[in-house]
């Protein structure tokens, strides 16, 4: 049996299973066309689900290498012992059972934009009419010579993808004696999750304050200032974590010595007890291999009406991998919003229609600054037809007035709701 036929039969079986579920409309065939989605994170999973929800006549295959989704947002709380990884973990089962999406647990090894085919490591070839690529970022260890050897990365962790690294960093912090120094290095923007490093500093500082009060958090930031919620983070550090958190701007990491846990900056070296490096980033390798990267040798340029690549027709790119519009962060929430605009655009294009000329998206990023207190940054972005990009709507952006426990409850609720919006 040919691979494509096997996939087709699997799809038919899924459709039959889905037809039994109440309120689900299932296609008899791929009459509306075939969409393949690469990457089951905030962008890709959302796009896959919304295409099927809005257009049950379109066949959707989602390719994801992990069996489970683990949320990066909220994962800094694991470092402070507030929650466990399992609290951030969800499965892809409902995408198959409820939405009849063909979820393939495999890795993409090649995309042929001319033949419109995706090749998987397992050997399968997936033809598509429209491809959505939501690949996330690669961490550029090569830019830090002391981290080129993978063995060094067992000792100097990034924990910038939630999972085993998160747990390993938690163990390093637990093993660190009181009076030790934890250093966190931040690359030049843009990087995934602008407030994430500063939230992490707060979570580790809260852990130290309550468990190891003689210990320090040293933030070595390549940027000239705090990249998100600056006034709020600065206030919290001064009022709650004075003597624990030290913030150093313009302190780009040049190299590390993993053996001695030394961070090498341009003019000084800092030896610490736990060294946590958030490396520089770029769109994931599959984007480069497919010829999608158009900006600064790092990011994928897209048309914000459809998220179609400006370099390759019929390929739409979402999330952290794109060259973002001004003031549009690389966040899970934004990727979820990209996914919905792209889903609607793919449906329209497969039907020979034009995408919505007036897309609107928004962002809400919550950061835990203690065990319960939270701050947010939020914005609404609308398409500007003259500038051909998304711009922040007049007056529609801002941050919390002050940290609050109320926003802590909203942040927890946000997680449950956005994971359900993607996956349930």
């Amino acid at each position: 049996m040919s691979l494509s036929r096997r996939r087709f039969l699997k799809q038919v079986a899924l459709v039959a299973a889905g037809a039994a579920a109440p309120g689900v409309r299932s296609p008899a065939s791929a009459a509306g066309g075939r969409a393949v989605v690469v990457g089951g994170g905030f962008g890709g999973a959302t796009a896959a689900k919304y295409i099927r929800m809005w257009a049950p006549d379109i066949q959707v295959t989602l390719v994801e290498r992990s069996r489970e989704f683990i949320s990066c947002p909220l994962s800094n709380r694991v470092l402070a012992g507030q929650i466990e990884l399992v609290d951030l973990t969800r499965g892809y089962g409902a995408l198959s059972s409820k939405y009849s999406i063909d979820v393939v647990y495999d890795e993409v090894v090649g995309i042929d934009p001319d033949k419109r085919e995706v090749t998987l490591a397992g050997g399968d070839v997936l033809p598509y009419d429209r491809l959505i690529v939501s690949p996330g970022v690669d961490l550029l260890f090569d830019e830090i010579p002391g981290l080129r050897d993978p063995a060094t990365r067992e000792r100097v962790l990034h924990a910038w993808r939630a999972g085993p690294q998160t747990m390993a960093l938690r163990r390093q912090l637990e093993a660190m004696p009181d009076g030790g120094v934890y250093a966190l290095t931040i690359p030049k923007a843009p990087y995934r999750c602008p407030p994430g490093p500063y939230e992490r500093a707060c979570q580790v500082a809260w852990y130290f304050k309550t468990q190891k009060p003689k210990s320090k958090v040293l933030i070595l930031d390549a940027n000239d200032k705090v990249q998100s919620k600056e006034a709020l983070f600065t206030k919290v550090w001064k009022e709650w974590y004075a003597g624990i958190i030290e913030y150093r701007p313009n302190s780009a990491l040049v190299d590390v010595d993993a053996k001695t846990l030394t961070a090498k900056l341009e003019f000084e070296e800092v030896k610490v007890d736990v060294l946590n490096v958030v490396p520089p980033q770029r769109a994931a390798k599959i984007a480069a291999d497919t010829g999608l990267i158009t900006a600064n040798n790092k990011w994928v340029g897209v048309d914000f009406l459809s998220y179609e690549s400006v370099a390759k027709k019929n390929i739409h790119v979402l999330g952290d991998a794109i060259l973002a519009a001004p003031a549009m962060p690389k966040s899970g929430h934004i990727a979820n919003q990209h996914g919905k605009v792209a889903a609607a655009a793919v449906i329209a294009l497969l039907r020979g229609q034009s995408p919505n000329p007036n897309p609107i998206i928004n962002n809400t990023c919550y950061s835990f600054v203690s065990d319960k207190q939270v701050i947010h940054v939020a914005s609404v972005h609308r398409y500007d037809p003259e500038k051909k990009t998304m711009v922040v709507a007049q007056g529609a952006s801002g941050v919390s007035a002050t940290p609050s426990e109320l926003e802590g409850t909203y942040a927890e609720s946000w997680g449950k709701n956005i994971w359900a919006d993607m996956l349930a």
Binding site: Y50, H333, N356, I360, V380, Q394, S413, N417, I418, D421
Partner: protein, 104 residues
Amino acid sequence: MMHRTSAIAACALLAGLGLAYPAAGQDQAARSLAANCTGCHGPSGNSAGAIPTIAGLDKAYIVTALQEFKAGTRQATVMHQHAKGYTDQEIEVLAEYFSQQKRP
């Protein structure tokens, strides 16, 4: 009513052709706009936890709440910032959409 009748006729026609296009009342523009809200408020506006469920609320109530958030006259942590990003007409569309969503 005429609109609904013709939509039903259209659906019947599509069903006869073996197609399954969305039913009337699920206009894609409204659905796309409403999809702005579901990241925080949950699928179809049904929230788990502290963020309010907006599915099935009275349309006039949603319009009033969003307009007051927009004007800054209603207590908010974040909604006063979001509400300013949408036109009065978009607020009407969102209110209509979420008022029609079912609670589980």
